[in-house]
């Protein structure tokens, strides 16, 4: 349940920037390699926002597909977490997308 600690961080970032305004929407960017379960985040969002200026806000989660880049042929390709390998056969691969854990934007009124 590390989603709870993560949601506490999310709520505190939004509160820091929204102050007294009512927050009606929060948008997150969560990479599919970030080891975070969006459904658990949604559950924690309701718990963590109760009684705050975020209560009742809509939580939008953009899931980001993992993308690898080969260090040899520089090709970019969809990254499979369970089989890190470039189509060229190289295993020297870096992850360029899919690890995001970000509060993208919020809507206030």
């Amino acid at each position: 349940m590390h989603e709870l600690s993560i949601m506490i961080n999310i709520v505190s970032i939004v509160q820091e920037h929204s102050q007294d305004q009512r927050v009606v929407r929060v948008k997150l960017e969560i990479g599919k390699l970030a080891a975070v379960v969006p459904d658990s985040l949604r559950f924690c969002f309701d718990v963590c926002t109760k009684g705050t200026n975020l209560e009742g806000a809509v939580l939008e989660i953009d899931e980001i597909e993992p993308l690898g880049e080969c260090n040899l042929c520089m090709r970019r390709f969809p990254l499979d977490l369970l089989a890190v390998r470039c189509p060229c056969g190289s295993r020297s691969v870096k992850c360029v997308a899919g690890e995001e854990l970000k509060v993208k934007e919020m809507e206030v009124e």
Partner: protein, 349 residues
Amino acid sequence: MCTTCGCSDDADPKVTNLQTGATLRVGTSPSNREHVHEHSHSHLHTHEHTHADGLTHSHEHAHMHEHEHAHSHDHDHTHEHEHAHSHDHAHMHDHEHAHSHDHAHMHDHEHAHSHDHAPSSASSKSASRSVIELERDILNKNNQLAERNRGYFEGRKVLALNLVSSPGSGKTTLLEKLISDLHGKMEISVIEGDQATDADAQRIKATGCKVVQINTGSGCHLESDMIAAALKELDPAFNSIVAIENVGNLVCPALFDLGEACKIAILSVTEGEDKPLKYPHMFRASEVMILNKIDLLPYLKFDVNKCIENAMSINPNIRVFQISASEGAGLDELLSWIEQRAKTMAALS
């Protein structure tokens, strides 16, 4: 328990110094973090006035005011409020704090879509809505503190190892063995992380090694602020090793940087060779995989090569050591790797 929001103090992480017996709370759980409750209440005041003509009269009046206050649960629950009242003029309690943040951008947001289906109040509200781009890393706070810890380790030329595994893989037994084998060669101190009890820390203390226990309460992993608090108690020696034994859990600790030089995943052969595939994030985040309890291999259907292949398919650069912490097999190779890393650390900083 906080009576306003119901958050529980029991869940607060706690740091115990086994040398001094001192305990302190770490401000990481929601209840321990500063949070704000708004409430309003009224005060009844009685005033006595003496007028110039010598006539004295008293009158009572009540007034309402609202105030916000932040409280932290580290300390006793006495909240002192200072109210400066002046009764012959009206005064405002509103404090406007204008904070400007470079990274937040305000945009006027036009809602072009119609709200035919929505109640009229909703559409009138949307006119005053605005979208604020934040682009903030969710784990920014943890990562910043982790970098601070990393600087602390570098400054002291300390090699910090973050040991992660499922419960019962033999982390504490391995540590006991490493402490005795490193004795006289290199100083080592330990930060123990568990949800509850100081059982593991007592085992480490029995070896004569400095140890601090972190109890995470309801938390399933260690975070960098807990390590920062533990380091103050531990006060590790220059040119030494700090071993951090994370909470037994192959999921969450993968995400939380503590400022360590590397994560070491320990997998015992009683667990099954598919563990790296089942918990890919941890094996991806770890520089080293230690296969422990290899003395039990004759009694098990554990395929060592398959396990290593699984780990390498997730993390092609992962380094593997096969050991038996209780019997001592393979420990020499692991020890020389640790000593080499410690030397590199000392040379770097």
